[in-house]
């Protein structure tokens, strides 16, 4: 990166257009190749998977591992899928409500102890999960929630990050509308539900998507609190496969791809919001 032209104002000044695209495509290949390799490998037969050295592409692509995993009655795949969907959606609904509601209070009200209360909530962001993992486990046991899907939901009612985000967003909303509503006799909760909430579509959507994804991909906490096979979520099923079916690599690959698939589908439809969310949460 030594020469540059005075005439070219663009930031792609050094490389030129084709150079820029070449680098971007190289990055693309690097990003997609591991996915691609795993997808084509999952279409190999068990014999082909054990063959050394392996071929990159399967000779006769087949979905045998997918059919095996989807039809094996001993694998509670549908139940596990349901668990993951149920937990993820419930957490999304609860998080959206608590985050926007608490965010509204912190953004628009003055009261004694507000900073202290907000500080308490921020502590949750600062504490790495693993620090409270052990006491949380013992707590969940004492509450009788162990080996129940509620153990994944109840401790996660409040998402400090969500509150923080929503507070930032609501602070940016003008207060004049609220005062006008008050004069019209609206209750404080009415202001939240009728004035604030309707304006929060984009941040709620992106918080919701992120909550869904992080819940769907969560691994360590479910690993600790869920013990029955039919209570497992999808990532646990994959790890269970990885350890229990070493002799059948194809099943592990198929299970991994089935874990990724729902998220990819959600992503394709909602990617703009997702990327926006990543940006805004880091900025604020």
């Amino acid at each position: 990166m030594t020469t540059s032209s005075n005439k070219k104002p663009s930031i792609g000044f050094v490389l030129g257009k084709s150079g820029a695209y070449a680098i971007l495509i190289l990055g693309l290949v690097g990003t997609l190749l591991p996915f691609f390799y795993i997808i084509v490998s999952s279409l190999k037969t068990t014999e082909e998977l054990r063959q050394t050295p392996p071929d990159f592409f399967p000779k006769n692509p087949s979905f045998e591992h997918y059919t095996a995993i989807l039809t094996d009655e001993k694998i509670p795949l549908t139940q596990n899928l349901f668990n993951s969907i149920f937990v993820s959606l419930t957490r999304v609904i609860i998080t959206l409500f608590t985050s926007s509601y608490a965010g509204y209070i912190f953004a628009k009200y003055h009261f004694k102890g507000k900073n202290l209360a907000f500080g308490v909530i921020l502590i949750q962001i600062m504490i790495p999960f693993q620090v409270v993992m052990i006491p949380n486990y013992l707590l969940v046991v004492k509450l009788g929630l162990i080996d129940s899907l509620w153990a994944l939901i109840i401790p996660a009612f409040i998402d400090a990050y969500g509150i923080f985000m929503m507070k930032q967003f609501i602070e940016g909303m003008p207060s004049e509308l609220m005062d006008a509503a008050r004069i019209d006799g609206a209750s404080e909760f009415g202001i939240y539900s009728r004035i604030i909430l309707p304006q929060m579509g984009p941040p709620l959507a992106s918080l919701g998507i992120f909550t869904f994804m992080s819940t769907w991909n969560d691994y360590l906490w479910p690993l600790i609190v869920l013990t029955s096979p039919e209570k497992r979520t999808i990532p646990l099923l994959v790890v269970w496969f990885q350890t229990a079916h070493v002799s059948n690599q194809g099943l592990i690959l198929a299970a991994s791809i089935l874990t990724l698939l729902p998220i990819f589908v959600v992503y394709i439809f909602l990617q703009r919001w997702i990327v926006d969310q990543a940006t805004s949460s880091a900025f604020k």
């Binding site: 003055h110 308490v120 790495p128 693993q130 409270v132 993992m133 409040i158 990819f264």
Partner: protein, 330 residues
């Protein structure tokens, strides 16, 4: 990015009653939330702190509150002393883990920036349609389940016939016998296994910083850059004198975030290398987890380890909030 307004006083309402009503609403709404936070956040934290001063394992039935006491006696700061001075295996491994966690972080951060910054600059310079497409694909690993990604990378790093070995052979290079298992392969003081984990992690994680940098670049007002050009700056100068200074705050903030998240990486270490070979990829979190759940059930010692990790993260988080608090204006 719009600027965050400093909180403005509500338009003064002359009715004190109305204010009282608002306060009451705020309090009644927050009380359940705070009680909940108390139970599920503050109480566990306090519990973890207290546990770190006990020789506590739930296998033994203690006598006091929460089983702390009796057979699980109070031992002061012995857990911390053990971790830093004694030669027991958990303590030795923990000290190694502390070092490894820093090595990991120290490699992840520059590698991440080295990829994401130039890529963001290039990405920002191309047409809108392709920009969206590339950005979307680069972000793909970020949203994927770590468990599935570990399985993908175990195929990449498989000895002999893995994707990486095949690629090495295809271009006439001799791959190492084992990417993740040979403790004698150490480059510049960094074990090969650690380098492999760093690469896998950066691959999984770089999408985040990339979209942040692209957004930051987009938010630099065109007028500023045009003004620079009017003043006779060439593109190179424009980049270094206008873009870089404006970007530096974002880079700083992103770096702190990257460091904090690197300290908390778990799945890839637990499932891809299990801390091996010879503890070369053993990290603090893995040590905490293994001492609590895999080996001796020594929750007191594990809690002490957690506290050390917590203090490190706390310092970084405070730094992060400092950076956040200062206003940015273009």
């Amino acid at each position: 990015m719009e600027t965050t307004p400093i909180f403005k006083k509500e338009i003064a309402s002359d009715s004190g009653k109305l204010m009282a009503k608002q306060r009451r609403f705020a309090y009644t709404s927050l009380v359940p939330i705070l009680l909940y936070m108390g139970l599920f956040t503050l109480f566990p934290i306090a519990w973890a702190v207290v546990m770190s001063f006990f020789s506590y394992t739930p296998i033994r039935e203690g006598s006091g509150f929460l089983g702390l006491g009796g057979a699980n006696p109070f031992i002061g700061i012995d857990n911390y002393i053990e971790l830093f001075t004694e030669n027991t295996k958990p303590a030795e491994v923990f000290r190694l883990a502390l070092k490894n966690t820093f090595i990991f972080t120290a490699l992840v951060l520059p590698l991440n920036l080295l990829i994401t910054l130039p890529l963001a600059v290039i990405l920002e310079s191309i047409g809108e349609r392709f920009k969206t497409l590339f950005r979307a694909i680069y972000f793909l690993p970020t949203i994927s389940s770590s468990v599935a990604l570990v399985i993908i990378w175990s195929y990449v790093y498989a000895p002999g016939w893995g994707l990486l070995s095949l690629m090495f052979k295809a271009i006439g290079l001799v791959p190492p016998k084992s990417w993740l298992q040979d403790p004698s392969l150490v480059y510049f003081g960094v074990p090969l296994a650690m380098i492999c984990v760093v690469i896998a992690h950066v691959w999984q994680d770089f999408g985040y910083n990339l979209v942040i940098f692209v957004a930051a670049l987009q938010s630099i007002p065109k007028t500023l850059r045009e003004a620079a050009r009017v003043d006779g700056a060439n593109a190179w100068q424009e980049f270094w004198l206008v873009v870089v200074p404006l970007l530096s705050r974002t880079v700083l903030l992103t770096s702190v975030l990257t460091v904090i998240s690197s300290l908390q990486v778990f799945v890839i270490f637990q499932l891809l290398t299990r801390g091996g070979p010879q503890n070369q990829t053993q990290t603090m979190l893995l040590s905490i987890y293994e001492n609590a759940f895999r080996f001796a059930n020594n929750l007191g010692l594990s809690s002490a380890m957690s506290m050390i990790l917590f203090i490190i993260i706390l310092i970084l988080t405070v730094t992060q909030f400092r950076i956040l608090r200062t206003e940015w204006e273009y």
